[in-house]
Amino acid sequence: MGRLMKRFSHLFLPLSVMVLLIIINLVKGADYFRITMVNGAFYGNIPNIFFGASELVILSIGMTLVTAASRGQDISIGESATITSAVFVQYVLQANEVTLLTILVAFLLSSVVGLALGAFNGTLVSIFKVQPMVASLILFTGGRSIAFMIDGKLSPILANDLSNKIGTVIPGIPIQTPIILTVVFIALTAVLFKTTNLRLYVEAVGINPNAARLNGINPKKVIFLTFLIMGFCSAVAGFIAVNKAGRHDSVNLLKLIMMDAILAVAIGGNSLNGGKFSITGSIIGAYTIEMLNRTLLRLEIEPAMIKVFKAVFIIILMVVASPVVRASITKVVDKIRPASVQREGSVPLPIANRVGKKEE
């Protein structure tokens, strides 16, 4: 039990926030968990959170990797997604008849563009040693006007049956399509981590690139790879977002989503200075943010005030999680605890218990 707690201690923060939000919501109205069936699909508060957070979850996965390896953040993800989805929309629009193949090819095309954009940022960061935030500032500045150029006009409409299905629901399947896509994406991520050494490589590079290099890892390649993954994440997020919206608004699509994605990474218990990371934490963090947004709406807070509440909430969260506050809490706890217990804990452990974790 103790081991389990230790293993998941980094998830304590996002999970406790989630529980807190659920309690607030239940106090507001006991019907929080109610799920209704409309036209053969589930709707309700919880499904809405999963639906609304799809893009954010996918982007925060990429952001976690970029943060861990490069010790910085990509702030151009919303813009990348806007560009990739512009490519997607243009390909779909030029087709005479929109078939599944059209969508597939369009998605592949947009993914290639996403990878290219990731490569652009990745090259600057890994080869030119530019700080990630600075490197991605370029696409952040110019990205939306590139997307507009691809569109050729303001907000082209994506009106076809398939896009509608991808953005909302496929008849016969009770769960909204973006949720399914997100789950598939998370599963793919899990497979990626299971079948490769990505975690070890990324963490080693993020913690000590010199040592990583001397042990045969090429830090440049690893950082580049995380940006490629980030680019792909952007393409998927753009794909979902544009199909949800049904049109391509190059000015507002996923605007400022990098703020939420970075926040998700931080709430997930990850350091924004790279190193060890938890994807699970970031995913929970992303859902927490969406839940927070919707909770504030549900509490009928004046729309104008929502941002203020969000800010206050984040600040409280970060203060509670801050190392300084934690240290002083531990101090107080230590003082309350009887001296004998304290002493026992403070003796350096010899080689005694080397057994732990064996049964895994």
């Binding site: 953040q73 600057l124 030119f128 040693k129 530019v130 700080q131 935030m133 600075v134 490197a135 500032l137 370029i138 696409l139 952040f140 500045t141 110019g142 990205g143 939306r144 006007s145 590139i146 507009f148 150029m149 703020m259 970075i262 926040l263 931080a266 350091s271 924004l272 200075n273 004046e302 729309p303 104008a304 005030m305 929502i306 941002k307 203020v308 509440f309 969000k310 800010a311 206050v312 984040i314 600040i315 970060m318 203060v319 801050s322 190392p323 300084v324 506050v325």
Partner: protein, 365 residues
Amino acid sequence: MAGVNAIKKKTRLSNSNLLFLIAAIIFVLMYLFAIIMYPGSFLQFQTFFDLFNLNAPLIIMTLGLCIVMIGGGIDISIGAVCGLVTMACAFFLESGRGSIWGAILIALGIGIVFGIGQGYLIAYLEIQPFIITLSGLFMAQGLLTTLHKDPINVTMPDFVKLRDFEIVINWLGTRNRLGVFIPCEIKPGTIIVVILLVILASLMKWSRFGRNVYAVGGNAHSANMLGINVKRTMFITYVISGLTAGIAGFVYIMTTGAGNVGNAAGAEMKAIASAIIGGTLLNGGVGNLLGAPIGTLTLLVINELIRAAGVQSNFQAMVSGLLLYFFIVLQSIIMSLRDKREFTLALPPWLRLSRKAQGEALQHR
């Protein structure tokens, strides 16, 4: 001969000065290019002054941001705080009981409150600056819309006078197409930019605090060991940045005369871009405040050039991005070339000094 020697013995430029120099040279070249291409507009002093007149708030914000960045931090709340200040001032001035001095106090007050709050959380509670100032951004935007949603055009007579106030320089004018002489006009915002630039640049160069900021940005742990109060230094950088955002807000409303929800939206990213072009590195410890206006002006001149060339305004952002790309890559290449040379320079045999060689080295100074 002596001259040659003097140059050779001169200490090599610090990174801060080198990057600033690059920025300055490129700015000058670009401006010359602009003059050659469009002598009609860029040869007028008014065009140059208008760059300041219209963009004083951005330059002021960049100054504060540069200090934070040199200290190794980042402040992305500045645009939103600036916007909040414009609305608060407009609201106050139009409330019927407003006064100019009151508005100035409000502007400084809001800036300082944000600076103190964020600075405390970042410096003393050691929370990541990006997250805290992001919350600050949300907070300021939220307060802005809560305060008032619709634009407020300030009509208070005193304020209108201030808004329309200009310093006219008669001998620096030009004739327009009709042959009428138009003198050069400088807005008070430009004066404030110059004053702040002088004060803050001197602060960074000649004050103990300024040097401490460089030390903290260079290596916070070492700075602490050297006896610098790192937390307090960091705290003050954020207070200054909040303060400059407040001042920028007042200058903003002094220029436009209206409070608006969209005021200075996204200015933080422009400020970051300006700071980087001006030679301030995001890693901290490297930067020169004189680069802040240079960076901003470089971005602006490019945009003016594009407009003059008749390119659709939508593509201005793209060109800004390209410009940024150019600068970032150039800086990176220069820095890495420099590192490489430094590497070989630091290791020649005479550095493994025998005492005799040491003596020689000393004599040569």
